[in-house]
Subunit: 203 residues, 2 copies
């Protein structure tokens, strides 16, 4: 059996990553979302092992030291990262694994797993992004300005990714991600000689 595909989905805040990725996973029993580890305090609604693995700072730094993370970053004094072991187990089982992480993390994953597929998800335009951020009604003017500036910077670095997907509607974006997974599964860069031999001699 061939290995699953490791897919990173990044994109500016307001692009709709969360909704698209949850739909993608919900529509298939072979596509799974990776669960991140974090040192931040769980919110009341959050379940350990479902939303995050909540670990101590010592534990997290131990994982860094032992090279047990595919990527990690520090935000506002807390660590966030992707433990390798669970991801690798699912890939070995032939499951596709989705990481919803920042671009910086995505580029760390590429270094450790050169066969990872990096997707940059964007809203149809900057105007639409600003509109989406404003219509949340929860962000200050300064926070909106900051998010737009980060988005501009990410766009300039998007060429380091493999695919650019426009989230015009959730359904279109999900179908495009499904198509990318289908295509990548039969990419000859990814198929080993063993896979090909299997195809050649299968009854």
């Amino acid at each position: 059996m061939s290995k699953g595909v490791l897919m990173v989905v990044s994109g500016p805040s307001g692009a709709g990553k969360g909704t698209v990725v949850r739909q993608l996973v919900a529509r298939s029993d072979k596509i799974f979302l990776s669960v991140s580890a974090t040192t931040r305090t769980p919110r009341p609604s959050e379940i350990h092992g479902n939303h995050y693995f909540f670990v101590s700072k010592d534990n997290f730094e131990e994982m860094i030291k032992k090279d047990e993370l595919l990527e990690y970053a520090e935000y506002a004094g807390n660590y966030y990262g992707t433990p390798s072991a669970a991801v690798d187990k699912m890939l070995e089982d032939g499951k596709d694994v989705i990481l919803e992480i920042e671009m910086q993390g995505g580029l760390q994953v590429r270094k450790k797993r050169p066969d990872a597929v990096l997707v940059f998800l964007i809203p149809p335009s900057m105007e639409e992004l600003e509109y989406r951020l404003r219509s949340r009604g929860t962000e200050s003017e300064q926070s909106i300005r900051e998010r737009l500036a980060i988005a501009e910077k990410e766009y300039r670095n998007a060429h380091q990714y493999d695919y650019l997907v426009v989230n015009d509607t959730v359904d279109n974006a999900v179908k495009t991600l499904q198509a990318i997974l289908t295509a990548e599964r039969c990419s000859l860069k990814r198929l080993s000689l063993d896979d090909m031999r299997y195809i050649r001699t299968a009854p």
Copy 2:
């Protein structure tokens, strides 16, 4: 508007290329099959400009000299080839173009158009391929042996292609080709800076 995708579909005789490619084109109004030029005599049922462009040997050699072909080959004393102009016109119009040609021709196309997508279509197994060739009932034992030997050789060279698609059912194979076209359309290797600027500033 972004350019269309140029896709080459090759595979052993008996893989079902013709059926799959015709279905792929029939299911979309943005995917077109390239028409080859040939110096062989038309069969009674064949229409000029539909099945082939039937040209004289002098005309064909003139096209070779003027570098007007994406690829060409000689079989049994006749030339077969793909005129560039019609293909490029469709790609510029944003249409995807399919070339159903031999692996040798596919590798010629790759040299002239590095952004071409090369797909190798195979039956589920060699046993299945032999079964399909035999059940035609029109091939001599020697011809079947020859076709299987050519198939073996093509499998060994398949790693030069981009994708390997198993034709287990026509519907699966067509859907996989559609997914590859969808994925390639948002590949960042293919998108120009202009396309990205368009996405960023579109209203």
